[in-house]
């Protein structure tokens, strides 16, 4: 299940055009639970997620998994990528890449379509779905290969309240079933609702890292306190 963890980042840095966008970062994520990464816009949340997932090049430092299998990661982007295919085909795509037998694909697709409530749209073009539906599809697609960890980059940033609630419910189910979630968000309410651990990023550096209970109740840095209050922090 999550034998890939713990994940250790040591001294990881990402530089772009001379500027240090992230780092140096030292972080160890443990085996279970949901880790939420919070921080103002531009603090490096997306970069940190992408580095952990392995799709961002970093200059300096190390990313060490206990046991890394890239196929065992799922990633959900802020703006979901809908392939120019039907809803069902979008879901099936990651399994087709793995050359999964056809009957298993059908079962998995049926299962997830039901779970995210998109059975009626299964034959329609995915590009025609609403924002919330797209994101649910993206999440299901990311989960269809039963990954050890699901990375999510502000999945609800562009969604309305109704869609957000549906997705949080889905994520809650998924987390309870044992999938490790690592999610970036700047919705503090969402963070409080979902987090087991919290990482507070500011200017590309980790200012705080701890259990949700601790961090929210008693922030140890003035910046985080200000951020929790809702002030603009930079």
């Amino acid at each position: 299940m999550t034998a890939a963890f713990p994940l250790t980042l040591s001294g990881v840095q990402v530089r772009r055009q001379g500027k240090t966008v992230l780092g140096p970062v030292d972080l160890t994520l443990n085996t279970t639970g949901t880790t939420i990464i919070v921080g103002p816009n531009g603090s490096g949340k997306t970069t940190l997620l992408r580095v952990m997932h392995g799709i961002e090049r970093f200059n300096g430092g190390q990313v060490a998994w206990e046991r890394d299998d890239p196929a065992k990661h799922g990633f959900v982007f802020q703006t979901p990528v809908m392939m120019r295919r039907t809803v069902a085909e979008n879901l099936a795509y990651p399994l087709k890449l793995m050359k999964t037998p056809k009957d298993q694909i059908v079962m998995a697709v049926d299962h997830w379509l039901a779970r995210i409530g998109l059975e009626a749209s299964r034959g329609g073009q995915a590009t025609r779905l609403s924002g919330g539906e797209r994101q649910k599809l993206a999440i299901a697609r990311a989960l269809i290969r039963k990954p050890d960890v699901l990375f999510l980059d502000e999945p609800c940033a562009n969604l309305d309240g109704h869609a957000t609630r549906e997705i949080e419910v889905l994520l809650h189910e998924v987390a309870s079933a044992g999938t490790r979630l690592v999610m970036a968000t700047h919705d503090m309410g969402q963070a409080r609702r979902l987090a087991n651990d919290v990482v507070f990023l500011l200017d590309g550096k980790i200012h705080e890292f701890g259990s949700a209970a601790t961090v929210f109740a008693t922030p140890s840095t003035p910046e985080l306190a200000a951020f929790l209050r809702g002030d603009i922090v930079s």
Binding site: P70, H73, F77, V81, M83, R84, R85, P94, L97, Q125
Partner: protein, 234 residues
Amino acid sequence: MIEFLDGLAAAFWLVVNLDEELWEISLRSLRVTLSALLIASAIAIPLGTYLAVQRFRYRRFVISMINALMGLPPVVVGLVVYIMLSRSGPFGVLNLLFTPTAMIIAQVIIITPVIASIAHQSMRELWAEYHDLLISLNTSKRQRILTLIYDGRRNLLTAALAGFGRAIGEVGAIMIVGGNIDHVTRVLTTAIALETGKGDFALALGLGFILIGIAILVNLAIHTLSRTEREGRW
């Protein structure tokens, strides 16, 4: 103006009488052009797609070259191919000169850059759309190329039809390498040139109208068969 009406009349009577010679040269036109189209697409589409997904040192140069080659004068291509295939030339032993095969070779050289350039353009846009997702799913280069080609097939079809249009109306190259031999390498365009040279404008125009008619039919047929206007699988 009289000539236009004469030309339309000539075209009409040729078609209505199922003129044997017309049938023969029309079929030959289609045979040569469609063969060239198939071969050129088989080269150009993977090439254009590969150039969209693979970064390498001289990529921009290669793309510029392909775009520039679109402007290659067909008659020059014809001359070069003639010199190559001439009995006193390097490939004379193949005995291909003044055969439809030589015409196909010349047309492949002419239309491959056209198809590759248009294909590359669409594939580049599609790759920009799919980039994050395909990298995140850990796809191989081969899987990426195949996915892009499949999902982008409508645009690739347009690219191919552009190549078809270029080829069906081409006359300079195939005149030189084919020789416009009656019953062997005479096609619609070379017949038009011949009749024009003889001063029989009405017949030349008539053949021209028929050529346009065939081009329209082919385009319509392809679009209907692939149901591009309705959503469908295509």
